[in-house]
Subunit: 221 residues, 2 copies
């Protein structure tokens, strides 16, 4: 029995490690995609796109390990909830990586960078979203429902940035019709970041559930 | 033993039923959101938004049942893979519902509907995406990897629609700066449908995995 418990703890530790690694890559993807956006560095953008495959592979590894743990150890109660949370969270973090990749893919389509005010707002917005991703995975590793709630609250800031950038870009389009195509790309970047915030919030709800057995009160998104 | 197997089969049947119900609601959400878009029916749009809560509740129900099955029946091999697939798929279908809700929420912000060509293209695009959602859940229920592959292939059509609508809307914006704000909303609608196709493709990959133990060859998205 002692042996089994130890083996289970090792599996859980490995599972947490894999998810932390996924989170680190997703965070890096977000911040590098936004630096590439501001600097126009297409080489960096390509690296972000290429790195996304690593996230896909890690998700498959988390799923395979989780399935193995479920099959071999038949965990109960809190342990079972944690494995289930890991399975769901790996899927969401992989999708957060997709958004970073989507941002990186737009960089080749963006012209006349320096003229857009949102180019200073988007990195600030992205930083909040990347921190949400970071903190929610810290909350998962520490089973910390209070930190999970803090992440959920921060999503409002991301939404406020989004609204402001949206209005700014639409005005910009009206005044400079020749830049509409680029402005549309920046709109999608803003939207991608906004979705990253939503997904981090989603994960925070799962972490709260995994740590306490209850979902946080419904938050309107 | 016979009793346990029977109880397990009942649980799996219920799990499939819940996921089929989620899929049906998501499909309905997509098609109603797009009818509301074309007709400008804000009451219908509000119903789509309200119905999304039902999807959230069903996801929680799938998760709770899957956890119970894992805890009580400790399924192995194919059965375990199916439960894990159900856990991941419920999360994705819930997000597909979010996209339908997002489309519905934009309807109040859209003016001068009749003048936009994409208003005839978006419902056609949405229909393909809704069918992908329908068929991939049929594939899940039937453990049919061939149908899952067909769904994956259909995503190219959705992407082609998206590219065409994007170009159309940007040209429209350039020619009619006064309608930029509405055109931007339609761009997001197109993007939401495109993401629904991506998510259906994601589910199709999980169904393929659940049915065969292997992922389909990597498809560049």
């Amino acid at each position: 029995m002692e042996h089994t418990v130890k083996a289970f703890d090792e599996d859980i530790t490995r599972l947490r490690g894999l998810i932390a690694e996924m989170g680190g890559l997703a965070e890096l993807g977000i911040s590098e995609a936004l630096s590439a956006l501001v600097s126009g560095d297409e080489e960096l953008a390509r690296r972000v796109v290429a790195r996304d495959k690593k996230l896909d592979a890690l998700e498959a590894e988390v799923d395979a390990l989780a399935v193995r743990v479920l099959a071999l150890r038949a965990p109960m109660a809190d342990d079972l909830r944690e494995i289930v949370a890991a399975l769901k969270i790996s899927g969401v973090v992989e999708r957060i990586g997709d958004y970073a990749k989507n941002i990186a893919k737009r960089i080749g389509k963006i012209d006349g960078r320096a003229k857009f005010e949102p180019l200073t707002l988007l990195p600030a917005m992205g930083e909040i979203a990347a921190e949400m991703v970071h903190d929610v995975l810290t909350a998962f590793a520490a089973r910390d429902p209070v930190l999970a709630l803090e992440v959920i609250e921060r999503d409002e800031k991301v939404d406020a940035f989004y609204d402001s950038i949206f209005r700014n870009l639409v005005s910009h389009m009206v005044e400079n019709p020749s830049t509409i195509s680029t402005a549309a790309q920046l709109l999608f970047v803003a939207r991608n970041i906004e979705r990253i915030g939503d997904h981090a919030t989603n994960v925070a709800e799962m972490v709260h559930y995994s740590a306490t057995g209850t979902y946080p009160r419904e938050i309107e998104r």
